[in-house]
């Protein structure tokens, strides 16, 4: 996958790119370990090797894959599995508006890049100071994460229950921590802080009452108080993303 033509003129220089890509790679490797768990889990649920491999390569949305396999494991129908998985995948559609400015303009590369629009790639991309380094973080995370996720699920499916659970290693705490780090740049403004706090409250409140995937979608309503705050106190300076996409007088 080629970057925009201006990519090698990265003003922040090679050092910044190396640091950026190292962070992306760390995230990808952690996801790879989760991929191993997915392989173990899917294999235990009765999925054969080709199906596990094809699923990780083509569906490529971790939470959805776990949901689909989980439903099948509980004896649910294929329809129920697909339904709950797509519910979780719906947030990827919400990431589209966030990252689309960084993606290539021509249709074919853009459609290719769309496959990689997931939690981690979006987060790494919007954590960058500008559009160009955002695209660099996006594709680099996308490609390395895809490789790690697929190698991981393949290894998990082959090795099966030989490996212990990732909870033993505290890996389930690593992911929220990664997103705390990636959230940091978005809560520098008052509006951003209001959005984050309101979203956390909505999501927490919704968890006991709704199917998985729903709390995160409901949290989108948290933009309402945040937009009000921004409207009320317009002098509040926006982050880089705000200048790029929202940037109105």
């Amino acid at each position: 996958m080629a970057g925009p033509p201006t990519e090698n003129m990265d003003p922040a220089g090679d050092g910044a790119r190396r640091r950026r890509r190292r962070d992306c790679l760390v995230v990808s490797l952690a996801v790879g370990v989760i991929g191993v768990t997915f392989g173990v889990f899917a294999e235990a649920a009765g999925f054969d090797l080709p199906r596990i491999v094809v699923m990780s390569a083509l569906v490529f949305t971790g939470a959805s894959q776990f949901a689909a396999v989980g439903v099948v494991d509980d004896g649910g129908t294929g329809g129920a599995a697909v339904g709950s998985a797509l519910l979780l995948a719906t947030r990827n559609a919400l990431y589209g508006p966030v990252v689309r400015k960084m993606l290539p303009d021509s249709p074919l590369p853009r459609l290719g890049a769309a496959h990689f629009v997931i939690d981690e790639t979006t987060a790494m991309a919007v954590a960058q100071p500008d559009r160009r380094s955002g695209w660099d973080a996006f594709w680099f995370t996308g490609v390395t994460l895809w490789i790690c996720w697929n190698l991981g699920s393949l290894a998990g499916a082959v090795l099966g229950g030989v490996l212990s659970t990732p909870e033993t290693w505290g890996l389930d705490a690593a992911f929220p921590a990664i997103f705390v780090a990636l959230l940091a740049t978005h809560v520098r403004t008052v509006a951003g802080r209001v959005a984050a706090v309101a979203a956390a409250a909505v999501a927490l409140g919704a968890v006991p009452f709704s199917a998985s995937g729903i709390p995160i979608l409901l949290a989108v309503f948290a933009v309402i108080p945040a937009l009000y705050v921004r409207h009320r106190w317009p002098s509040d300076s926006e982050g880089l993303l705000g200048n790029e996409s929202g940037g109105r007088p």
Partner: protein, 94 residues
């Protein structure tokens, strides 16, 4: 599974094409707030949710340590290893 693969890809494409354009045109100011909203919701769900219930366990402490590391501007690797090791250690002793 073909339905699932097509559906999840379709949602992603929808986001970067039609939906993305509409959201941006109609609700421009909203887009810059979406990362804060989605990541924040993702964090609390991943920290407190287990099988549809809110649960307080070792994860919470681990994520807290991670957040502390973020606040102290530690590198991402330190954040990850810190939150993991604290969570794993707590599980080992409890």
């Amino acid at each position: 599974m073909i339905v699932l693969a097509a559906g999840s890809y379709g949602l992603k494409v929808l986001g970067v094409t039609a939906l993305g354009a509409v959201v941006e045109r109609r609700l421009g100011p909203l887009v810059s707030l979406l990362p804060a909203v989605l990541f924040s919701a993702l964090i609390v769900v991943m920290t407190f949710e287990t099988a549809g219930e809110l649960v307080l366990d070792a994860r919470v402490v681990g994520v807290g340590v991670g957040a502390l590391a973020v606040w102290r501007k530690a590198p991402l690797l330190v954040v990850i290893v810190g939150s993991m090791s604290v969570t794993a250690a707590l599980r080992l002793i409890t």
